[in-house]
C-alpha cells in the first residue's frame, strides 16, 4: 500500500462511459474529512454521483460526496430544505413529497446529488417558468482550496456564488445547501401528450402551450421530407386533488412504488437504439394514440422515465456514448433545422432527440439562455468527433453554446465563443482556486485550468 494514497484507485467514468480513467477516490463522511482531503498536497475535482455524461467530474483524484449525504433541516411549513451536498434527489423526494413539497427544478434523472445540481446548474422541463436549480438556492457553503468554508448565496459573497452555479466544481467543494422547495397538492402530474407532424408544428405547439409549467418534446431525427422533425410534445402540471380518482384521493401525496430493473451488461449499441425507435413508433402510430392524450400519472414516469432501468447507459456498449446538447437563441430556428438535417443525413445513429425551450436567463457560466435546446445520444465510433466538430460550427454560427455537463470532446475555442463571461469566471477562479488545485480532465481540456 502506498502510504501517500488516501483512497482506492479505481477505473471511473461518468454516465456516457466515455472517457474511462484510473482515479484515486476519496469518500469523506464528515466535514473535517473534506477539509483534510482538500488541503493535502495534490490536485483533485469534486465528484457527485457521476451522472454528468463526459469528463467534468473526472481527474486523477476525486473527492466524492456520496457518503456526505445527511439532511440537516426541513421546514415542512415553509418548504425550506437544507442538506449536505452528496444527498441525491431521489432521497429528497422520499422525504418531502409526503409532506406536500417537490423539487423546484429537476433534471431527467433523480440520481444526481445536490452538489452536482448546483455545479452544473441543472435545468428541468420547467426552465421557461422556474429557471435553473440555483435560482432556488438561498444559501450554501463552499469549501475552497485553502481550506476556508465560505457561506455564499444570492445576497452574500455573490462572486463565489455566481461562479459556483454552473462552475463545474472548479471554485471549491459545495458542502451544505439550503434551498426552497415547490408546494404541491398531490404527487401526480396532469399530463398532455400532443403529436406534431413536423418541426414547424412542434415549435408552434411549444408556443401555444407556453403557459404549461413543464414541457419537452421527443423528436424523431430520422424522418425526412414532410415529416421532418415529427415529434411528441409532452406537457405537464402538478395535479390538484380534484384531478385525481377517488382511489388516488385517499392518499394524494403517495410515493410511487419502487420498481427498478438493472441493465445487467453492456449491449451492442444498436440494441438500445432499435428499442427506443420502436417505443417511439409505438407511441406515434399506436392505435390508441390520438392526436392528443390527456391523463394523470405519478411524478415518477413523467420526470424520470429512464430511471426505471438502472444503468441503461450500458445499452450503448463498451465504447460508450456522447450526449450532445446545445442551445440556440430563439431567432436561430434555421440553425436548429440545419443541425437536425445534418444529424439525419449523417445517420448519426441517434434516432431520438429531446427538444426544449429555455426561458430568459442571465448567468455567469450557466448553460441555459433563451432559445431552443436539443439533446441527443450518439454512440462513440470512428469519425464521430469530426462530425460533432462540424455541428459545433453550426452551433457557433447561430450564436449558440454547448452544455459542459454533457461534454467530453468540445474544443476550447467552442467554449470560448459560446460563453461570453469567461474572463470574469476565470478571475473569480483565480481568487478562490489560485493554484488550480481543483481541476478536471474537462477543465484542462477546455483551458479553464492549466492555461489562462
Amino acid at each position: 500500500m502506498n502510504p501517500m494514497k488516501q483512497g482506492p484507485v479505481k477505473d471511473i467514468a461518468n454516465w456516457g462511459n466515455y472517457p474511462v480513467m484510473a482515479s484515486e477516490e476519496n469518500t469523506p463522511v464528515f466535514l473535517e474529512d473534506i477539509r483534510r482531503y482538500v488541503t493535502i498536497p495534490g490536485t483533485f475535482i469534486p465528484r457527485g454521483n457521476g451522472r454528468c455524461y463526459g469528463d467534468a467530474s473526472l481527474a486523477s483524484r476525486t473527492i466524492c460526496t456520496t457518503k456526505f449525504d445527511k439532511i440537516l433541516s426541513f421546514d415542512a411549513g415553509q418548504g425550506i430544505f437544507e442538506c449536505e451536498s452528496g444527498l441525491t434527489l431521489d432521497r429528497i423526494l422520499e422525504v418531502v413529497v409526503p409532506k406536500g413539497w417537490f423539487l423546484p427544478v429537476t433534471p431527467g434523472t433523480k440520481f444526481i446529488t445536490v452538489g452536482g445540481a448546483i455545479a452544473s446548474d441543472v435545468h428541468g422541463k420547467n426552465h421557461h417558468v422556474d429557471g435553473c436549480f440555483s435560482h432556488h438556492v438561498r444559501e450554501m457553503d463552499v469549501l475552497v482550496a485553502d481550506g476556508r468554508l465560505i457561506t455564499c448565496g444570492p445576497q452574500q459573497e455573490t462572486d463565489l456564488f455566481e461562479a459556483t452555479c454552473g462552475g463545474m466544481g472548479l471554485t471549491g467543494v459545495i458542502t451544505r445547501v439550503r434551498f426552497q422547495l415547490k408546494k404541491i397538492e398531490t404527487s401526480y402530474i396532469r399530463q398532455k401528450q400532443v403529436k406534431a407532424a413536423n418541426l414547424e408544428e412542434v415549435l408552434m405547439l411549444f408556443d401555444k402551450y407556453k403557459d404549461y409549467t413543464y414541457s419537452v418534446a421527443w423528436i424523431d431525427c430520422l424522418k425526412k421530407g414532410r415529416g421532418f422533425g415529427r415529434s411528441i410534445l409532452i406537457l405537464g402540471e402538478h395535479a390538484a386533488v380534484s384531478d385525481l380518482t377517488p382511489q388516488q384521493q385517499k392518499d394524494p401525496l403517495q410515493l410511487p412504488k419502487k420498481k427498478q430493473i438493472t441493465f445487467p451488461f453492456n449491449l451492442p449499441s444498436w440494441v438500445l437504439n432499435t428499442f427506443t425507435v420502436k417505443a417511439f413508433n409505438f407511441l406515434y402510430y399506436g392505435k390508441n394514440f390520438k392526436k392528443e392524450i390527456n391523463n394523470t400519472v405519478s411524478y415518477e414516469p413523467f420526470f424520470y422515465p429512464l430511471d426505471a432501468i438502472l444503468h441503461w447507459n450500458r445499452g450503448y456498449g463498451k465504447k460508450g456514448f456522447i450526449q450532445y446538447q446545445f442551445v440556440l437563441p430563439m431567432e436561430s430556428k434555421q440553425g436548429l433545422i440545419e443541425i437536425l438535417q445534418t444529424i439525419s443525413n449523417k445517420g448519426l445513429g441517434s434516432f431520438l432527440a429531446v427538444l426544449k425551450i429555455f426561458g430568459k436567463q442571465e448567468s455567469l457560466i450557466g448553460f441555459p439562455m433563451e432559445g431552443y435546446t436539443l439533446a441527443l445520444d450518439i454512440p462513440v465510433r470512428k469519425g464521430l468527433f469530426e462530425t460533432l466538430d462540424q455541428l459545433d460550427e453550426i452551433v457557433l454560427r447561430y450564436n449558440g453554446r454547448l452544455y459542459m455537463s454533457k461534454d467530453a470532446r468540445m474544443k476550447p475555442d467552442v467554449l470560448e465563443a459560446g460563453y461570453p463571461n469567461l474572463a470574469r469566471f476565470r478571475s473569480i477562479l483565480h481568487k478562490y482556486n489560485p493554484d488550480q488545485k481543483l481541476r478536471s480532465v474537462q477543465s484542462d481540456r477546455l483551458f479553464l485550468t492549466h492555461k489562462s
Binding site: 500500500m1 494514497k5 488516501q6 483512497g7 482506492p8 469518500t27 463522511v29 464528515f30 466535514l31 473535517e32 457518503k67 449525504d69 445527511k70 439532511i71 440537516l72 433541516s73 426541513f74 449536505e84 422520499e94 422525504v95
Partner: protein
C-alpha cells in the same frame, strides 16, 4: 417503539446500523467520543424517519466512567449495540505498550465495562438485547494481528458467557462477526469481493438476526466455513504459516 444505543457511532458500520434501525422505527442514541460531528446524522435520522435521535459523549477508553454513563441515559435503551473497535498497528504494538494496551482496552476492557452495566440493568429488568460486534480475527491468533485478535477472542468469549447468564433472565445476546467490510478503515485496501460486505449488508444482517434471536452470525456465509478450515489446521503446521 424501542430505544437503541449505538456505542462507537461514528464508524461506517455504526452509521449503517443506525440508519437501518431508525428506518425500522426505533429511537436512536448515538454514543461517540466526538459527538459534534454526528449532528448531521442526528438531524438526518430524525427528519427522515420521524424518530428521536440523541447524541451522547462516550469514550471507550474510560472504563471507570462507563457504569455512570449507562445509568445516566434517559431513557435507558432497550437494545445496546457495541460497535466500537480499534484495529491498532500490530508491529508498533509489539514494541510500544501504549499501542498494545489501547488495542486491548478498546476491543476488550472497554467493551466489557460498558456492557457489564447494560447486562446488570437488563438482568434486573428481565428484558433487553445486547449486540456485540466482534471479529473473525478472534477465532485464531495470527502473527499479523494477534493483539487485536486476542482482544476480540476475549470479547467473543465474554459475549458467549453473558448470553448464557442472561438467557435465564430473558435477555438475549447476539455476537456478530462481520468478516471484511468496506469502510473508511479499509478503503485503501484491495479486499476480495465475495468475502467483503458493505456496511449496509452488515446492518441488514443484524436487523434480521435481532428479529430471529440468533446467537452468532457471520455476515457473508462462507466466513463460517473459512474459519472452520482455519481453526482445523493443526498447530504444528499453522505456526509455520505466514498469516
Amino acid at each position: 417503539m424501542n430505544t437503541v444505543l449505538i456505542l462507537g457511532a461514528s464508524s461506517d458500520m455504526a452509521v449503517a446500523i443506525a440508519k437501518k434501525l431508525a428506518g425500522e422505527g426505533n429511537n436512536i442514541q448515538l454514543a461517540a467520543r466526538n459527538v459534534e460531528r454526528l449532528k448531521p446524522l442526528q438531524s438526518d435520522l430524525s427528519i427522515r424517519h420521524s424518530i428521536t435521535c440523541t447524541l451522547h459523549e462516550f469514550d471507550a477508553e474510560r472504563s471507570d466512567q462507563h457504569a455512570a454513563f449507562f445509568m445516566g441515559l434517559d431513557p435507558a435503551p432497550d437494545v445496546t449495540i457495541c460497535v466500537f473497535g480499534y484495529l491498532g498497528n500490530q508491529t508498533l504494538a509489539e514494541n510500544d505498550w501504549k499501542e498494545c494496551e489501547r488495542t486491548i482496552q478498546v476491543n476488550y476492557t472497554g467493551a466489557v465495562s460498558i456492557l457489564n452495566a447494560a447486562a446488570n440493568h437488563y438482568a434486573a429488568k428481565k428484558a433487553g438485547l445486547i449486540i456485540g460486534i466482534s471479529s473473525v480475527a478472534g477465532e485464531r491468533g495470527r502473527q499479523s494481528n494477534y493483539f487485536y485478535g486476542s482482544a476480540k477472542a476475549g470479547f467473543t468469549a465474554y459475549l458467549a458467557g453473558m448470553r448464557n447468564r442472561l438467557f435465564h433472565h430473558g435477555v438475549h445476546v447476539l455476537t456478530v462477526k462481520p468478516g471484511f467490510v468496506y469502510t473508511r478503515m479499509t478503503e485503501a485496501l484491495t479486499l476480495p469481493k465475495p468475502l467483503t460486505a458493505t456496511p449496509e449488508q452488515v446492518a441488514i444482517a443484524i436487523d434480521k438476526a435481532m428479529k430471529k434471536k440468533k446467537n452468532t452470525i457471520y455476515v457473508k456465509w462462507f466466513w463460517r466455513w473459512i474459519m472452520l478450515i482455519i481453526k482445523s489446521i493443526p498447530e504444528p503446521i499453522f505456526k509455520k504459516l505466514k498469516m
